[in-house]
């Protein structure tokens, strides 16, 4: 042992010499950690943060992506946005997607997670089945859903027909299209939501249920007074993440109606898609950057409000 320590001595000494004798080992370790952290940080700063900052700058300029001219236009891009009924529609739709999609996703996710907790047989398989949509490429899934929704060939209308119900236009209808998109997004996100809730449920100690059960609490009261409050951190996480996802909705909308993206008649248009179209199909980069700034502000405000009003610290 002593021999080993002696042998290690020069090694440590040599290492210390590297940074001078005054730097303690603890700091050296931290320095190394920071050095390694700096690499992804630099990447993150240059790839994500810096362009985001530039978007703010771009939002007060005009730029058609091709030209060199980038004249300063002040708030003109924001005025243009305010006057564009398509942008208002995109904002309203995005809000609607979020308000419908997030609660639906949470309620179904929680229900499924609780049911999965109850079963033992085939639990792993069932969990996988719910998770598969989450790892299915959006484009492929959108193709399948387009077929399901087809008024003339789709399975959904086939079922309605069997039940003697009138066929529905789904994606072809300005009134129904948004909900048809939500259904697909919920289906895709559900697996992830279930996994999150399963983890949350498993972290609740069994003893609470046993104690409350002995006091004569029924299933509803167990759910209402134990499961729900103790799941609060999971729920807050899911609401915030889910909301941010829905506020940035893009790929599903594009692929469900590829030749009239956001249609019919802008009924499925989202802010993210609006930004894409204005920036990369119409090359009005300044106006698109302005829309990005608005979306950023909305997302920031919503997330902060949710964290402020939903978080509750519960302890028993």
């Amino acid at each position: 042992m002593a021999q080993l320590a002696r042998r290690a001595q020069p090694l440590l000494a040599r290492k210390r010499r590297g940074l001078g004798p005054s730097v303690p080992l603890r700091w050296q370790r931290a320095l190394w950690a920071y050095a390694f952290l700096a690499v992804p940080l630099a990447f993150f700063l240059s790839i994500r943060i810096w362009p985001a900052v530039q978007a703010f700058n771009l939002s007060v300029h005009e730029w058609n992506i091709v030209g060199e001219a980038q004249p300063y236009v002040g708030a003109a891009n924001f005025r243009e946005l305010a006057a564009d009924p398509r942008f208002a529609r995109a904002l309203l739709n995005t809000l609607q997607y979020t308000v419908v999609g997030v609660p639906l996703q949470l309620a179904l996710g929680l229900a499924l997670a609780m049911l999965l907790e109850q079963v033992r047989w085939l639990r792993g398989l069932l969990r996988a089945v719910y998770f598969v949509p989450y790892v299915t490429p959006v484009v492929a899934a959108a193709w399948v859903w387009q077929w399901l929704y087809s008024p003339n060939f789709g399975a959904v209308n086939g079922v309605l027909d069997l039940l003697g119900l009138p066929p529905q236009p789904f994606l072809n209808s300005p009134e129904q299209a948004l909900y048809a998109v939500v259904a697909m997004v919920v289906w895709q996100n559900l697996g992830f939501q279930v996994v999150i809730f399963l983890a949350g449920l498993q972290s609740i100690p069994r003893v609470y249920y046993e104690a409350a059960g002995m006091d004569g609490a029924g299933p509803w009261r167990l759910f209402r007074h134990i499961t729900l409050p103790l799941l609060n951190p999971t729920i807050v996480f899911s609401v915030v993440i889910g909301t941010l996802q829905y506020l940035q909705l893009f790929a599903q909308v594009v692929n469900l109606n590829f030749l009239d993206q956001g249609g019919p008649l802008d009924s499925t248009l989202t802010v993210a898609l609006y930004i894409y179209q204005v920036a990369f199909q119409r090359f009005r980069m300044g106006q698109a950057a302005a829309a990005t700034v608005v979306l950023f502000a909305v997302m920031m405000a919503v997330a902060l409000l949710q964290l402020r009003f939903l978080s509750r610290r519960v302890e028993y």
């Binding site: 058609n64 091709v66 060199e68 008024p151 003339n152 249609g263």
Partner: protein, 432 residues
């Protein structure tokens, strides 16, 4: 030991490499006149890539002093790719662009006008199909195509025969009669459509450049600055089109799912007729399970004139080409737009030639597939788009408003005109 020698060896290696590279680069200069290298960009499409490679080979054989580097990018990202290369100061000397994007690239100073001594405008107008004038801005030509595209009626021969027609309908009246006879549906579910309507496919062009004109109104003013379809004739034309769905029920929106569902429906024998471009010939040829034919678009309406929509990808010279590179680029462009290149292009890519001389070639006009497209060249109009995506959306929304929301055609068209006029005004305001 090895550590101490590492850096030295590295430096020695680097010096040796640099010297060798320098020698390689300098070698042709030593051998004779250094060749001029120009870069050509187009989007990735197998038959086009093959054709350009072969044309470059021929061109380089004829012009030993010039080398052409050919680069391609995926179609979906092509426009963004070209656009992004501009501010970066890189990119091609000769570039293939969709004609509808030209105003953007001209406005930003990316393209230079074709030198009038090498490409006299009067000669272009005498020798090329009239639609090429969509590449003229401020009295100058900025790009020229090898091939152009027009629309035609694709039809299922067996079905039309079954409806009692020898060949394709020549007028819109006959078209409606055939389509009505061939549509099969129960209540609101269609099993087969007489015509696969596709406002988001080519039909918005059909309304804009064919029906408007046949019903007696030009879609835009001569100079392209004013929307001129907002009138009773325009409304009647739009109404005629939307009646196919709402009144005659010969088709339904998005009958067959997919990104080109209307075309798939024809190929699967689920639609008797579609309107599509010459660019669709390739996929229909290879995928159709039915006996199909092509015909010129029907005539009809109060002014039964022939009309068609034409479009093209054109080759322009960018501001990167200066001095001897510009000379080389001009030579290459002349070669790409020569009659010889066009014949080869038709053979390999299946796109119809842009020169009038070939449109008058009796052998080509008799071709059962390309003939009707080539015959349409003299009367095809290429819409002068200043914002292709924005203007497409306007017409699409007008059609959808009538079909899906029951908005009267006149009202839908008035709104479309207002929206589109704003797009035109925005563009022209920036150009004084």
């Amino acid at each position: 030991m090895a550590d101490r020698h590492g850096p030295i060896r590295l430096v020695a290696w680097a010096v040796a490499t640099a010297v060798t590279m320098g020698a390689i680069v300098a070698a042709p200069g030593v051998a004779g006149a250094s060749p001029v290298t120009i870069t050509y960009w187009q989007y990735e499409y197998p038959s086009k890539v093959k054709a350009i490679n072969e044309l470059i080979r021929q061109f380089e054989a004829e012009n030993p002093g010039i080398k052409v580097v050919h680069q391609t990018f995926p179609y979906e990202a092509y426009n963004q790719r070209v656009a992004a290369s501009v501010p970066a100061g890189r990119g091609p000397d000769v570039v293939n662009l969709f004609y509808g994007w030209l105003p953007l690239y001209v406005e930003s100073g990316y393209l230079q006008p074709l030198p009038p001594d090498a490409f006299p405008p009067a000669q272009i107008e005498a020798e090329f199909a009239p639609m090429v004038q969509a590449a003229k801005l401020d009295g100058k030509y900025w790009a020229l195509p090898t091939a152009v595209r027009t629309l035609a009626l694709f039809y299922n021969k067996d079905m039309l025969k079954q409806a009692g027609f020898q060949g394709a309908p020549a007028t819109w009246d006959e078209f409606l009669k055939a389509a009505e006879a061939l549509t099969e549906r129960s209540d609101s579910r269609f099993r087969r459509v007489g015509f696969a309507v596709a406002p988001n496919g080519q039909d918005h062009h059909l309304v804009r450049e064919v029906l408007f004109r046949q019903w007696g109104t030009a879609p835009y003013s001569e100079d392209g600055r004013k929307v001129t379809y907002d009138n009773p004739q325009g409304a009647a034309a739009l109404g005629f089109y939307t009646d196919w769905v709402t009144k005659y029920r010969i088709g339904v929106l998005n009958f067959f799912p997919g990104d080109s569902g209307y075309r798939d429906a024809l190929m699967q024998g689920l639609a008797a007729m579609i309107v599509d471009g010459s660019f669709a010939v390739g996929s229909i040829k290879s995928g159709a399970r039915v006996d199909w034919g092509v015909a010129e678009l029907p005539t009809g309406g109060p002014h039964p004139l022939r009309s068609n929509f034409g479009s093209f990808w054109a080759n322009g010279i960018t501001r990167n080409a200066r001095g001897e590179k510009l000379d080389a680029a001009v030579k290459f462009l002349k070669f790409l737009t020569s009659e010889k290149a066009m014949r080869y292009w038709l053979e390999v890519v299946g796109e119809i030639p842009a020169r009038r001389a070939l449109a008058d070639d009796p052998a080509l006009r008799k071709d059962p597939v390309y003939g009707p497209f080539i015959a349409s060249l003299p009367y095809a109009h290429a819409t002068f788009f200043v914002d292709e995506s924005g203007q497409r959306q306007v017409m699409l929304d007008a059609i959808n408003a009538v079909i899906l929301q029951g908005v009267p055609p006149a009202q839908a068209l008035a709104q479309a005109a207002q929206r589109e006029q704003k797009i035109l005004d925005d563009f022209w305001a920036k150009r004084r």
